[in-house]
């Protein structure tokens, strides 16, 4: 029998080293993202194309019998690599991905810079790279749900509804393309977002910057293309670069007669720039003034 000790008490547990020290960052980040006002709504909307395309796959199979009734055959109902490209590089999806980045990602680093939370992170046994990986994983999570998951589901559904493996036989490289392109788009958007989030302390400015740079690059392309008619200006537009590479991955004719390797280079350059900017902006040593 005893009266418990009052005042400060010790903890009798043991501090462990995690295999993935960045995991709490990701978990909390995902929870915080869902708390944001319009995020759930936007995320839901960005899943609509996936849903629509899934229905399309089903319809494509079942409507074969009724094809005679339909004048011509809408390309949407032909499930081939073009179908995949239409989904992955579609305007709407790319735009929704940007929306998700803005809502979930604009404040990821900006808020912590503004409220001096970085010093709390780095006073822990957390390496700078773990911090970035943790933050990026949040965005990767959401983006994968919109790219990789639907892509693989499409393949699966097609196999199920067509009842045979013929589809895979025709396009054996397709799953790899899906994985590859999802990885590229995800990596690009995550790094792009993190980079801009680290540039300012104000979440609103970073959100505006995220939008503006993306859209402006496209507008710029439009202006130059309209004036000079050279398709190489397509390299200016981030969106078009994504579409070019998307077309290449799915072995479909790209929208502009520019080698897709150039577009890939532009995208990778942005990723590299992001890495540099992040390292400079988040200086671990600046913890104590």
């Amino acid at each position: 029998m005893a009266i418990a000790e009052r005042g400060y008490t010790h903890w009798d547990g043991e501090l462990q080293e995690r295999r993935r020290p960045w995991w709490p960052i990701t978990r909390h980040g995902i929870r915080l993202a869902f708390k944001r006002k319009y995020f759930k709504f936007s995320f839901f909307i960005s899943l609509m194309p996936a849903f629509g395309f899934l229905v399309g796959i089903y319809a494509a199979e079942k409507i074969q019998d009724f094809k005679v009734m339909i004048k011509g055959s809408p390309t949407l109902l032909t499930v081939d690599p073009g179908f995949f490209r239409a989904y992955f590089a579609g305007e709407f999806l790319l735009f929704m991905m940007l929306m998700i980045m803005v809502l979930a990602g604009a404040g990821l680093i900006a808020d912590e810079l503004r409220h001096n939370a970085l010093q709390l992170y780095f006073a822990r046994p957390l390496a700078k790279k773990d911090y970035f990986v943790g933050k990026a994983a949040i965005l990767v999570f959401f983006l994968s749900l919109v790219t990789l998951a639907p892509g693989l589901l499409f393949i699966l559904f097609k196999l199920i509804f067509s009842g045979s493996f013929r589809f895979l036989g025709d396009y054996p490289w397709l799953p790899l393309s899906v994985i590859g392109f999802s990885a590229l788009v995800t990596a690009f958007f995550s790094l792009y977002t993190l980079m801009i989030s680290s540039v300012s302390k104000n979440r609103r400015y970073t959100a505006i910057m995220l939008f503006t740079i993306y859209i402006f690059s496209d507008v710029l392309f439009g202006i130059f293309y309209g004036s000079f008619r050279s398709p190489y200006f397509a390299l200016l537009s981030l969106k078009v670069n994504l579409q070019q590479v998307g077309a290449a991955f799915f072995r479909v004719k790209p929208p502009f007669p520019v080698p897709w390797a150039y577009s890939l280079a532009v995208l990778l350059a942005v990723c590299a720039a992001a890495a540099v900017v992040l390292h400079k902006r988040v200086k671990g040593v600046e913890v104590i003034k």
Binding site: G7, Y8, T9, H10, W11, G13, L15, Q16, E17, R18, P21, P24, I25, H28, L32, K35, R36, G107, D111, E112, H115, N116, A117, Q119, L120, Y121, F122, A123, R124, P125, L126, A127, G284, V285, V287, I288, K289
Partner: protein, 303 residues
């Protein structure tokens, strides 16, 4: 031995921030003082494992400061000076989050977060969003995240800045309670000398990159065994005359404090007797002692 540093040197480019620092600290709260630019922040960065000293070596909690920096940071708690929080979180989430990042398993971090928040006095408001917190509450939150993982060494950087007298008192009480645990070392860096006097029996004074003075505050202060400070009620004139006649040196300062230097052989009781005979009341009677401010000034070599 929680902190041991030998001949630490560090410079930022051409500026020599630390120029040969030797420190050995065991248990008990230690105050870290120094003029601005003395090297306190650099020292803290090295202790926290952010910087590698150019020369010299040391151990913090038994870990080498050059090679085991992450291990040091696991077992150390840091309460920063400026405000820090993460918007959108409440106190429990915030505290357990940082507990997890220190290496606590998720459920343990949650349990400990609740405990610690009650301890610092945020129990009632632990589910409220952090944006609604007052400055006193934010300060306690900073303390909570610093102790959630039960560190053996705690760095507190100006813990009472921007607090009103009530808030200061409460934080100081908390820190006193924590530092009374024999196995937690508290290192308090502050410009407010009365805070350090309240909490720290030991001090380290830095100046120009070196240790200018260190040791038990008690020992650093010069206690004069023959100089006393008094406050009396009543006209002191005749009293002081008589005391002088007894062979004492007497001085009256502007704050109405009487300083009496007694020659050896004279007993204290004589002063009281003289005062009683002159119809005075002695309301304060103390052995004169240098204040921490004077210790500081002397160590830094001023005035």
């Amino acid at each position: 031995m929680s902190i041991e540093l030998k001949d630490i040197r560090f410079s930022y480019g051409r500026v020599q921030a630390l120029d040969g620092v030797d420190i050995k600290l065991e248990q008990g709260a230690v105050g870290l003082l120094g003029p601005n630019g003395a090297g306190k922040s650099t020292l803290l960065r090295i202790l926290l494992g952010f910087l590698k000293p150019e020369r010299g070596e040391g151990r913090v909690l038994g870990h080498d400061i050059r090679t085991e920096q992450a291990l040091i940071r696991r077992r150390v708690g840091y309460m920063p000076e400026n405000d820090c929080f993460i918007p959108g979180m409440d106190a429990v989430t915030f505290t357990s989050y940082f507990g997890e990042l220190s290496g606590m398993p998720r459920q343990e971090a949650m349990k400990r977060a609740h405990d610690v928040l009650f301890y610092v006095g945020l129990g009632e408001s632990r589910y409220r969003p952090l944006e609604t917190y007052s400055s006193g509450m934010k300060q306690r939150l900073k303390l909570a995240q610093a102790i959630v993982h039960d560190p053996r060494l705690l760095f507190l950087d100006e813990p009472t800045s921007n607090l009103d007298p009530q808030g200061r008192k409460e934080i100081l009480e908390l820190i006193l309670d924590i530092s009374s645990k024999k196995d937690i070392q508290v290192l308090l860096s502050s410009h407010i000398l009365s805070d350090i006097e309240t909490i720290c029996p030991f001090v380290v004074i830095l100046n120009k990159g070196r240790v200018a003075a260190h040791g038990e505050l008690q020992n650093l202060r010069e206690t004069s065994f023959r100089l006393f400070e008094l406050k009396v009620k009543g006209g002191p004139g005749p009293f002081l005359e008589r005391v002088r006649a007894l062979g004492c040196k007497v001085e009256a300062t502007e704050d109405m404090i009487l300083k009496i230097y007694m020659p050896p052989g004279l007993e204290r009781a004589v002063i009281f007797r003289t005062a009683a005979e002159e119809g005075l009341q002695v309301r304060e009677f103390l052995r004169s002692q240098t204040s921490l401010e004077d210790v500081f000034a002397k160590a830094v070599g001023v005035d």
